[in-house]
């Protein structure tokens, strides 16, 4: 398959052993089926052992896997009649964010998401999924359109973060993110956000204010990349593993902290191993939440979103 992650090495070795045995058996016409079955069983067991106790830093590697399904993959697999819309009507069409109108189980919805590239060339065009202000503004334009036509909004979150560049600052990166947060609070339609890969800081949150926030099992979501945190806190980017641990960036941690509402399981080995199956399970969870939210009126939806973020925070009061 290629692109194995370092912690998958033992699996990789076992796999090639099985293959070798199989090849040898057929060449020499010897029956190794019992031995192969035993190794296959061992493989499944080992796979479970590895994936049950993934460290946050290992999940981060899966979340950033170059073959991890992207927004466009999910759009194609989950929705019907998708029509992509472009541009922020002010400056440019930022390809780091994609979106348009489509149907989910027959219901017209607006879909918006960060888009990483599929290969180097695509990644350059899409700036590795790191939006400029015009990307956030394009997303906002599409979401406002959804609000106008009373279409539910579904967002897919997958970005290392808003692009840290000179031109991005000149065009108001901070303002663009802030505006999305404010506007997303006001929409009268259901908003469901799905963190499919990397939820990198403000650039992720700019598409992340929803009635429901769902997250794939191996996705991560954090205020700063673990590498960034390590270099700021301990002046040592190589301590990223330690930072990943301390910052509680996994879906499991975030569910405990009530930041997200539901974890969508991934196949063993991660979403990229079984993209069609993964998309199917994302679709079924999305559909269930949308079904519920569709019965709410606009004030209920806005109030629900307000309350959801209103209660987030940990503070206490000084004695005396």
């Amino acid at each position: 398959m290629g692109n194995e992650l370092p912690f998958e090495q033992p699996l990789e070795e076992l796999r090639s052993k099985i293959e070798e045995l199989r090849r040898f058996g057929s060449e020499k016409d010897i029956d190794f089926s019992e031995e192969i079955a035993r190794l296959e069983e061992r493989y499944t067991q080992l796979q479970q052992e590895i994936f049950v106790q993934l460290a946050p830093a290992q999940k981060m590697q899966i979340a950033r896997h170059p073959q991890r399904p992207t927004t466009i993959d999910y759009i194609q697999a989950i929705f019907d009649d998708y029509i992509e819309l472009h541009g922020d009507r002010a400056y440019a069409d930022d390809l780091a964010i994609v979106g348009g109108i489509a149907k989910l189980n027959g219901v017209p919805v607006t879909v918006v998401g960060h888009q990483k590239g599929k290969d180097t060339k695509d990644n350059i065009a899409r700036n590795f999924g790191m939006p400029h202000p015009e990307g956030f503004r394009k997303g906002l334009r599409l979401m406002k359109q959804a609000d106008k036509f009373r279409r539910p909004i579904i967002t897919f979150i997958d970005t290392p973060g808003a692009y840290p560049g000179g031109a991005a600052e000149e065009r108001g990166q901070g303002e663009a993110i802030a505006r999305n947060l404010l506007e997303m609070a006001t929409f009268r339609v259901p908003i469901i956000c799905v963190v499919i890969g990397e939820g990198g800081s403000g650039g992720a949150l700019a598409l992340g204010v929803g009635n429901r926030v769902l997250m794939l099992e191996n996705a991560i979501y954090s205020v700063i990349s673990p590498n960034g945190a390590a270099s700021i806190l301990w002046k040592d980017a190589s301590k990223a593993d330690k930072a990943a641990e301390a910052m509680k960036i996994t879906a499991q941690d975030l569910q405990e902290m009530k930041i997200i509402d539901e974890i969508i399981p991934e196949p063993n080995g991660g979403a990229h191993r079984e993209i069609a199956i993964q998309a199917e399970s994302v679709k079924s969870v999305l559909s269930r939440h949308l079904q519920e939210l569709l019965s709410w009126d606009s004030e209920q939806l806005r109030q629900d979103r307000y309350d959801k973020y209103r209660k987030l925070g940990a503070f206490t009061y000084a004695q005396g």
Binding site: G166, G174, A246, G313
Partner: protein
């Protein structure tokens, strides 16, 4: 005696205080803490403080955070990086929030987010204008995702405030970066900044490392941001109080004056 960090001119602390901590030689605006700022802006220097006893927890049991909170509090005399409350400016009642860089580099954690949100909610209830002086290095990393969520919380509260027709004057003071810029600070009806203030989302060093280029000296200064349409006006510290009074007055419809 103190030395201007920009031009090196030396003056007595008394002279400097009299000049509102602005260097008499080069006009450099030195940092003010929240108490000094309140003293300078509010009528009689008085702010009736909200939530003065609110303090941070250590929700993630983040290595070193609890100790650092204690040290930051001792150093600054503050309980967190923002002071909020109400008072009057030129006789106009306002809700005011003032951030302080001397507590944890003005970073936004749960306490900053909660106090700002409550201030916005009170301003909404009372129909008072909202004045916020921001300064921040960005997110409080030790509170991780909870810190990020304060951006959504404060912005949602501002959505309601704006919807009710409230006036929000946001003032950037040096420096304001990261999550504070990318949430409430950029959502003012009128956005002001002190001269030379660094305003941005990403910091200069991160950008230079990313693009592998040197940025111009004036990059992200208030004047640079003004030029790029990111704020309304650069206001000298000496003029700040009067500018606020003027803006508050311009948003007040006096009885007996026809609007039609």
């Amino acid at each position: 005696m103190s030395k201007c960090p920009k031009c090196g001119a030396i003056q007595t602390s008394k002279e400097l205080d009299k000049n509102l901590k602005v260097c008499p030689s080069c006009g450099y605006h030195m940092k003010l803490n929240a108490r000094e700022r309140i003293h300078m802006i509010m009528d009689e220097g008085r702010l009736f403080e909200y939530d003065a006893d609110m303090i941070s927890e250590d929700p993630l049991e983040f290595p070193g955070y609890a100790d650092k909170l204690v040290k930051q509090s001792e150093k600054s005399g503050l309980r967190d990086a923002v002071v909020t409350g109400e008072g009057t400016i030129g006789g106009f009642p306002v809700v005011c929030a003032v951030m302080s860089f001397d507590f944890f580099s003005g970073s936004m954690g749960s306490v900053v987010g909660e106090k700002i949100t409550r201030a916005v909610e009170r301003a909404t209830q009372k129909g008072y204008p909202l004045i916020v002086f921001s300064t921040s290095g960005g997110a409080r990393m030790q509170e991780s995702i909870l810190s990020l969520m304060q951006m959504a919380k404060t912005s949602s509260a501002l959505a309601r405030f704006h919807d009710k027709g409230g006036l929000f004057i946001s003032i950037f003071t040096d420096p304001t970066l990261g999550g504070v810029t990318a949430s409430f600070a950029m959502l003012g009806d009128v956005i002001l900044a002190e001269p030379g203030t660094i305003v941005g989302f990403a910091g200069r060093i991160v950008i230079e490392q990313t693009i592998r280029q040197k940025l111009p000296d004036n990059f992200q200064t208030a004047e640079f941001n003004l030029q790029h349409g990111q704020l309304d006006k650069v206001v000298n510290r000496k003029e700040m109080r009067n500018t606020l009074i003027k803006l508050l007055d311009l948003h007040t419809v006096k009885e007996g004056v026809s609007r039609g």
